[in-house]
């Protein structure tokens, strides 16, 4: 836990970059990523950054969110300015241990307020909805696979591969099935049926492996967040496991009665990450989790105690090597004139810079090149100083 507002690290990061890219050649591209793991958690539905990490030190907060102020009375703090939502207790512990970093007032280039388009943009990494057809996480896998003897395993813990992971690099997906499990006898016979098939044979082996890695599956779906976190870890912690993982969490579209609804979703996120961290065991030292959402919510509570679609939100970076316990933000303020269009937390940090900077540092990629590949067409430089040097 250092400063409350680490604006300097943000500014310094962008200043250093020109020189930084020259100073970085020791990091051969896509090399040495070794067994580093990356889990991307997409919060679908626009999670409220002001609830997640409340700027209790901002004089404008009480006027906007007076009704929920009590929630943060005994909540864990980062400095005197920010309070972590009490339902994020395990994440707060990680922050206190210096392993979780928040970025606040961040948004993608998207400035409209449709979930549909906003999610398309945060998944494709494009500058306009539908302008880009593949996902930035898949392009990350492509970068990592350059010159590698075999493509890394990229896995969506989801029933269908989400757009963020779609593209030319091979990816896999797994989700507990709601269909009745096939009988063991049938599974064994299918193994024989595919034994001589050069395509289906290996796929089937991987399927049975993943099934086994996932353990005796009593889950019917991914709704138990703790179990989903354990599942994600079980699929990523072994040498043969996935190096890039993605998981989605819904329930953030808190238009009414936000106090209860947000706390419920936050508890899910907290349980998921705690279970994942515990499940990764010693591998946690080489693991990074990045949590982001498509956009934020209105600063002021609406007439039904909720918030509507907004602009900037918060993001979270966690991991064994993350230089955490901080908030990186160029805080825009909450006075009415400081709000975006008079209603939303104003975006001062490009979320794309956070994503590109975090994954590049963690995976030892050239941040400038990563930014250009993952989020082409942006002016912003990738954020730096996220991982302990």
């Amino acid at each position: 836990m250092t400063t409350s507002l680490d604006r300097r690290s943000l500014l310094a990061g962008s200043l250093v970059l020109g020189a930084g890219s020259l100073a970085l050649p020791r990091i051969a591209f896509a090399q040495g990523a070794g067994s580093r793991n990356l889990l991307f958690v997409l919060l679908r539905g626009a999670a409220d950054g002001l609830a997640m990490l409340a700027p209790v030190g901002d004089p404008g907060f009480e006027a906007l969110r007076g009704a929920s102020l009590a929630d943060y009375e005994n909540a864990p703090r980062i400095g005197s300015f920010f309070a972590i939502h009490p339902a994020l207790a395990e994440i707060a512990k990680s922050a206190q241990a210096g392993e979780a970093l928040f970025v606040h007032a961040a948004a993608t280039a998207y400035r409209e307020r449709s979930h549909f388009d906003g999610q398309n943009l945060i998944e494709t990494g494009g500058t306009a909805p539908y302008a880009t057809k593949d996902g930035w996480l898949n392009r990350l896998a492509v970068l990592m696979n350059e010159g590698a003897p075999a493509p890394l395993r990229a896995l969506a813990i989801a029933q269908a591969v989400p757009l963020a992971l779609r593209g030319s690099a091979p990816v896999s997906n797994y989700a507990p099935s709601a269909l009745p499990q096939a009988s063991e006898d049938l599974l064994a016979r299918v193994s024989q049926l595919y034994a001589a098939d050069s395509e289906l044979g290996p796929l089937w082996s991987r399927a049975l492996e993943t099934k086994a890695m996932a353990g005796d599956d009593t889950m019917r779906n991914l709704n138990d967040a703790r179990a989903a976190g354990e599942l994600a870890a079980s699929l990523m912690r072994d040498a043969g496991g996935a190096r890039i993982g993605m998981i989605e969490l819904g329930g953030w579209d808190t238009h009414a009665n936000q106090r209860g609804a947000f706390a419920r979703s936050a508890r899910q996120l907290d349980a998921l990450l705690a279970a994942y961290k515990a499940g990764m065991g010693a591998g946690w030292a080489d693991t990074m989790v990045v949590v982001a959402t498509e956009f934020g919510r209105t600063a002021k509570l609406n007439g039904t105690g909720g918030t509507d679609h907004g602009t900037a939100s918060a993001a979270l970076v966690m991991g064994g090597a993350v230089r955490g316990g901080r908030v990186v933000a160029d805080w825009p303020g909450l006075a009415e004139a400081q709000l975006y269009e008079g209603r939303d937390l104003a975006p001062t940090t490009a979320l794309e810079s956070v994503l590109a900077g975090a994954v590049a540092e963690h995976l030892r990629l050239d941040p400038v090149r990563a930014m250009a590949q993952l989020f082409p067409g942006r002016d912003a430089a990738p954020l730096s100083g996220i991982v302990r040097g």
Partner: protein, 491 residues
């Protein structure tokens, strides 16, 4: 694969006892041109829900500030399933929560939208199961995916089925330019890609609004979504030689094309054959220039003229030929086949019956193979046909397709569902097919599985599969194994 097996499986939806054996494989396919019914009873009997679309868009418009309704509308697009065990509770709770607190008229509209969508998905699949022309049904689904719309967009639920039924089906053996105009200018597409609220910056409506000082609640101006996708996905293709200026000019020409029954300008709407409406008040006036060709001012006809030229463009011929070849003859289609199809498309002026005949005549399409991994939709339909299923309740169809990951009209982007093995041949997908196969086999007649296998893959049933079928402990198990056999997974 034998020619007979290719005719059944690569070109069609697999074997069904009703269709008989393809003794002359090419004739077996060509006969289907005549057997195809663009509007069978179930489709013809589908009630007109167009008025509901206008009402729904009006609800959305009124609730623009209350984004809770937007969310509920988006979630309403999620397929409804009778089999609750097959659906995540969180999603259901979220949907229920989103519905709670909405005024009854909105709630009813959302429930109605879900029901209509599920019914339309049922009609699509059951029509295919009963069709005497499975190859032409494949064409329907190919073109429907080429002109993909998604019910994830609020307001499209009532229109996604009609889009396929009225803008695709009648044209699959007709002219590409006619299908292009019908599909692109159908209400489903106009809503999906935001065209319906695009306004020409110099249109009379925009001018008047500027004088009044503007209205924050109203959509702002030109929207290029549809124009971009028409050039990139529907016609010329990526690298088809167009520039941003062409996108903008096409977007300007498209202004005025909207959905009937909405907005203050609705009363000025002229209804169009595609089901859309044209409102001259929001159309950008003036001459347009697209790909170096000039189009005089012409209101609704201006966009039609541009679309006709785009349909005839050589880049479009190349793009369509490539996709068509990829769908039938392999993820990396043989260049010789692409060239044949391209030449035919140009020569015939985009006659899709001629294009299909050229495909059937091309030796490359009959490569021994197999050349494609079946998509979840293809696999489910082929499985149901093979087991002799004549029709299934809509809810079960929706449930199965959702579990398999390919619910109709729900592709993640306007590019449609991928037509590549890499997107579908995943470990999780195989497990799900095995699970579903066991379930389907339980409810189907289980006799004569080996004879059925031989009929389904004439001269092409592998020794490994035959061995496993013979060893199966029951007819039910043999049928399940047949449904997931390598022969069923690929075509």
């Amino acid at each position: 694969m034998s020619p007979a097996s290719i005719a059944l499986n690569r070109f069609g939806y697999g074997f069904s006892t009703r269709d008989g054996a393809p003794n002359d494989p090419r004739r077996f396919l060509l006969r289907q041109f005549d057997a195809f019914d663009p509007a069978p009873a179930a489709i013809a009997a589908r009630l007109d829900t167009r008025a509901k679309t206008g009402e729904m868009l009006e609800l959305l418009r009124r609730l623009r500030q209350d984004t809770r309704a937007m969310t509920a509308m988006e979630q309403a697009g999620a397929p409804a399933m009778a089999d609750t065990a097959a659906e995540g509770m969180t999603r259901q709770e979220a949907r229920a929560a989103a519905l709670d607190g909405l005024p009854p008229e909105y709630r009813e509209k959302l429930i109605d939208a879900r029901r209509v969508l599920a019914d339309d998905i049922g009609v699509r699949v059951n029509t295919t199961l009963a069709s005497p022309a499975p190859m032409v049904e494949r064409l329907v689904h190919f073109w429907s995916n080429h002109f993909s719309v998604s019910v994830g967009k609020p307001g499209t639920q009532f229109e996604a089925g009609p889009h396929e039924f009225t803008a695709i089906r009648p044209y699959v053996l007709g002219r590409f330019s006619d299908m292009l105009k019908a599909a692109v200018l159908h209400p489903a597409m106009l809503i999906y890609l935001d065209q319906f609220q695009s306004i020409g910056p110099n249109a009379p409506f925009a001018q008047r609004r500027a004088l009044r000082g503007g209205d924050q609640q109203r959509p702002r101006g030109l929207n290029e979504n549809l124009a971009r996708e028409v050039l990139e996905l529907h016609t010329l293709g990526v690298g088809g030689g167009y520039a941003q200026a062409d996108v903008t000019e096409l977007a300007r020409a498209l202004t005025g094309w909207t959905v009937p029954g909405i907005g203050r300008v609705g009363r000025f709407a002229q209804n169009q054959p595609s089901g859309a409406a044209f409102v001259a008040l929001v159309h950008e006036p003036g001459v347009r220039s697209v790909l170096g060709r000039s189009y005089p001012a012409g209101e609704a006809k201006q966009a039609l003229a541009i679309l006709d030229d785009l349909a005839a463009h050589p880049a479009t011929a190349r793009h369509i030929a490539t996709k068509f070849a990829r769908h039938f003859a392999g993820d990396t289609p043989p260049p010789a086949l692409v060239a044949r199809l391209e030449a035919d498309f140009l020569r015939s002026g985009g006659d899709l019956a001629s294009l299909t005949r050229t495909l059937i005549d091309a030796p490359e399409a009959w490569a021994q193979g197999p050349v494609k991994f079946r998509t979840p939709f293809e696999w489910l339909v082929a499985s149901l046909r093979l087991t002799g299923t004549e029709a299934l309740p809509a809810q079960r169809i929706v449930g199965a397709l959702t579990q398999l990951g390919q619910a109709p009209w729900r592709a993640p982007s306007p590019a449609g569902y991928d037509d590549l093995a890499a997107s579908w041949a995943g470990p999780d997908a195989l497990i799900r097919r095995v699970e579903l196969a066991e379930r389907i086999a339980r409810n189907a007649p289980q006799d004569g599985v080996i004879a059925r296998a031989e009929a389904a893959f004439p001269g092409a049933l592998g020794e490994a599969t035959l061995t496993q079928l013979k060893r199966a402990e029951s007819g039910q198990q043999a049928l399940a194994l047949l449904l997931v056999s390598p022969e069923m997974m690929r075509r």
